[in-house]
């Protein structure tokens, strides 16, 4: 797995969600206010690379999880908690779950997560 760990092998190419270079995250940059909390998050691109690494290592389910994570990387926390809450037992109707799935797909371009929610609804 030649590109793993990405933090070593692709340090020059990795970007933070705000587009900052990975290797420019330094303590001085944090202290001067150049790096914020939002820079210390994973990007959809890095998650897709990790998914590929997991798939090549023979772990398709983990790869699938990382691809769903790539979809969620840009979804706001509040909506993530809404989806989670809807999936818990006895919280909502099948119709409401299908609505949540539709919203994941149309509004957040998250078809894999939408498929998981539809599957949970029994469809």
């Amino acid at each position: 797995m030649t590109q793993y760990p990405l933090s070593e092998k692709l340090a020059g190419e990795l970007r933070t969600p705000s587009g900052r270079r990975f290797d420019s995250i330094t303590l001085d940059a944090v202290l001067s206010g150049g790096v914020t909390r939002d820079d210390l998050r994973v990007t959809p691109e890095a998650l897709r690379l990790q998914a590929e690494i997991a798939r090549n290592a023979g772990r398709p389910q983990l790869a699938g999880n990382l691809l769903r994570a790539a979809e969620l990387a840009t979804v706001p926390e509040e909506f993530i908690l809404t989806v989670y809450e809807a999936l818990r037992p006895g919280r909502t109707t099948r119709e409401r779950l299908l609505d949540v799935a539709a919203e994941l797909e149309s509004r957040y371009n998250a078809p894999l997560c939408a498929a998981l929610v539809r599957e949970a609804s029994g469809s």
Partner: protein, 741 residues
């Protein structure tokens, strides 16, 4: 009842406080098999699992459906299910069948078939299989860091010590949920003090746990519990789909996730459906793989005392560990919750994970005394850590812990406690006083800590989190208050979240922010000479326990002092009937100058001389140079003695009284346990020797019998004897000696 002091004494032993019951299979109180366990079967149609372990698609419950859809690879199911269980069982222990081939086949097996296969192995075979199957080659360890008072300085000091001792993951939790931001912060700071680099988590309710992770106060989570029946799952307020979604949610923020399962939980919740503990755990593990988790902590975890109450329970827990590894999941293998009152039983059980190695031997080694463990854990705690270090060294096994010197531990404890104090002050949280820091550094437990203002702490903790406080604030506070090196290390680990590297199976972050996982450190065990071998720097580290000195330094110091005896002339045979020889070893009073108990050679001689002289005999000191053996020394002395009696005395203090005419290994009295000899004993030995010379009736000197003496003294005995033997001059004649005044 016939009285018996032995039965009465055994009744008070710790093992009697453990609970044991007979099996009750219909309620799930059986390891394997259960009366309602299904027979293994599978039907694949059109690339779909349409029948699973005797149930058609229409009869599937929630877990069956999830497993059929997500956990079984229809592409290998028919091949794998057509192999005889015994064939597969033998592959697990066959070094010629590589791990990847087993992983491939197990992708196609049903839960019922997996338990059927694993149940064919005995305990040692399971350990062999686990050695081959655990995902990451190098074993590591997770620690619990909590305390009853939720004191931040103590949490930080304990976290720093845990990382210094080699723990790669730290888990805290709360007594009061609102303390979570402070507890997470304290172990975050502690974890990156000193050696640094560990992932940290705070076990709380899911939504709060996610919030802490989003704020960068934690870097992993493992509270995602899974159960083996639908009803138990629902009682846990989740479904396999909600858990899967949560796993993706954590990963989407670069946070590592490990699920939790374990035998016994379904029976405990009253929802076993008459199925065996092991079959239900196999279902859990399939659901965990299907949900896309990289790993699991299992091994019964908090239910451990329940399987351990049953026959086959400890083997059953090993079996569930093995199944997790067969499903290619990261395995944190339990050993956390209190499992027994008996130290023998706890240690024996530990060996099943410790010897084969797992990804994390413990799901939580208590880094503080167990009374401070808020997980109900502490099966092994900080007071056992020296024992644990010795076990690694005894068996040449890497248990993920390193021996460290006291000064090193105390330095990081202080640095961490002071860093938390500085951050609290800088961010305007309730004061941590200097005395509180001192108490945290020196504490045994939170009983040694002052009471904090809980109301003020909780208000500040809530304010911090709700106002968007996060790890950047902590990094800045540390840098501003003189803790730049801790700030750097926290940032290095946070930075790794951008790459997602520690989302891969079995990832740990080592010093230098180095990520090691099953991707770049895959278990390649294939028999002797392969897989993880404890060698090189790591082995030297494990060997160097602080309590093992350089043997060359034992008994040293005597050599530097000037000899207490000087030679007069070559010793001759005496014809004086009152002559009694004290024959000493070649190092006596010179290279060595005290006995094993630390009695000075001069004092020992004085005691012998006074005992002899009190009986009116004339003692003569002779140094035997040709032998260091006690029997030979005494024998040689007897050949020179006018009375025919001699006392043989080795430098370490071992003494014999013998008489000319007896062979070297026979004697009148022998005192082989030098550690039990006092100056009074030596005086009595001198007196008895003199009475033998006068042919008076003699009551032998009473000696203590101490079974532990050999255990305690065999090492110094050996070393002192080696030093005496080094002074032997094979051709050297006995010399008559005089005590230097």
């Amino acid at each position: 009842m016939e009285p018996s002091k032995r039965f009465d004494t055994r009744a008070a032993r710790p093992i009697q406080r453990d609970s044991f019951i007979e099996e009750w299979p219909e309620t799930g109180l059986r390891i394997f098999p259960g009366p309602a366990d299904p027979r293994p079967s599978i039907t694949i149609r059109g690339g779909r699992v349409v029948e699973l372990d005797g149930k058609s698609e229409a009869e599937f419950d929630m877990l069956d459906r999830f497993i059929a859809l997500r956990a079984i690879d229809p592409g290998v199911a028919e091949e794998a299910m057509s192999l005889a269980p015994l064939t597969l069982a033998r592959m697990l222990v066959d070094i010629n069948v590589p791990r990847p081939e087993i992983i491939r086949l197990f992708r196609g097996l049903t839960p019922a078939r997996i338990v059927e296969i694993v149940a064919l192995l005995n305990t040692v075979e399971m350990m062999m299989a686990l050695q081959k199957m655990h995902a990451r080659r190098t074993p590591y360890n997770q620690a619990h860091v909590t305390n009853r008072k939720e004191n931040p300085a103590l949490l930080a000091a304990d976290a720093a010590e845990a990382v210094e001792r080699g723990f790669a993951e730290l888990e805290t939790t709360v007594g009061v949920a609102r303390y979570a931001p402070f507890n997470a912060m304290a172990i975050l700071i502690g974890s990156q003090t000193g050696r640094g680099s560990a992932l940290t988590q705070c076990a709380v309710e899911e939504a709060l746990s996610l919030k802490l992770a989003l704020a960068g106060l934690t870097t992993y989570a493992e509270t995602l519990s899974v159960y083996g029946t639908e009803q138990a799952f629902r009682d846990g307020d989740d479904t396999p789909w909600s858990k899967s979604f949560l796993a993706a949610a954590y990963a989407s923020r670069g946070i590592k996730v490990r699920f939790t399962s374990g035998t016994g939980s379904e029976a405990l919740m009253g929802h076993s459906e008459g199925k065996s503990m092991l079959y239900l755990e196999a279902r859990c593990l399939m659901a965990i793989r299907g949900g896309g988790s990289q790993g699991v902590q299992n091994g019964s975890i908090s239910c451990i005392a329940l399987p351990e109450s049953l026959p086959d329970g400890v083997r059953g827990v090993l079996a569930e560990n093995l199944i997790a590894s067969l499903l290619d999941l990261e395995l944190a293998s339990g050993n956390d919750a209190m499992a027994s009152h008996s130290e023998i039983r706890k240690s024996a059980k530990l060996m099943l994970q410790f010897l084969p190695g797992t990804d994390f031997i413990f799901s939580g080694y208590s880094s503080m005394p167990r009374e401070d463990n808020l997980f109900g854990g502490g099966n092994f705690d900080t007071l056992d850590i020296d024992d644990y270090n010795v076990l690694q060294r005894d068996m040449r096994v890497d248990g993920g812990v390193r021996p460290v010197a006291r000064e090193q531990v105390m330095a990081v404890r202080r640095r961490a406690a002071e860093a938390v104090q500085a951050v609290f002050r800088h961010l305007g949280f309730p004061e941590i006083g200097d005395a509180e820091v001192d108490a945290a550094v020196a504490a045994l437990s939170s009983a040694d800590m002052p009471q904090r203002d809980v109301v003020a702490d909780l208000a500040a903790a809530e304010r911090f989190l709700s106002s968007g406080g996060n790890s950047i604030d902590i990094i800045r506070a540390l840098a501003a208050t003189g803790y730049r090196e801790i700030a750097e290390k926290i940032l290095e680990v946070q930075k790794l979240r951008v790459s997602g590297d520690f989302l891969q199976t079995s990832a740990v972050v080592l010093p230098g922010a180095q990520v090691v996982s099953a991707i770049n450190d895959p278990n390649d065990y294939a028999g002797p000479g392969t897989g993880y071998r404890l060698d090189g720097e790591r082995w030297r580290e494990i060997c160097a326990i602080p309590q093992a000195p350089d043997p060359r330094t034992i008994g040293a110091g005597g050599g530097a002092a000037s000899p207490i005896l000087t030679p007069l002339l070559e010793a001759a045979v005496s014809s004086d009937a009152a002559d009694l020889v004290i024959a000493v070893g070649p190092a006596f009073g010179a290279a060595l100058q005290s006995t094993i108990l630390g009695l000075g050679h001069r004092e020992v001689l004085d005691a012998l001389l006074s005992g002899i002289e009190a009986e009116g005999l004339r003692p003569r000191i002779v140094k035997i140079r040709a032998s260091s053996d006690c029997g030979q020394i005494g024998y040689s002395g007897a050949q020179l003695s006018g009375s025919g009696i001699s006392i043989g005395l080795q430098s370490k203090g071992t003494t014999v009284i013998t008489r000319r005419g007896l062979p070297p290994l026979n004697n009148l009295e022998l005192f082989p346990q030098a550690p039990n000899l006092t100056l009074d004993s030596y005086r009595a030995i001198g007196r008895n020797a003199a009475r033998y010379a006068k042919s008076e009736p003699v009551l032998p000197v009473p000696t203590q019998i101490d079974n532990m003496a050999r255990l305690r003294y065999i090492v110094p005995t050996t070393i002192l004897h080696l030093k005496e033997t080094a002074e032997v001059v094979p051709s050297g004649k006995p010399l008559e000696m005089q005590v230097v005044k």
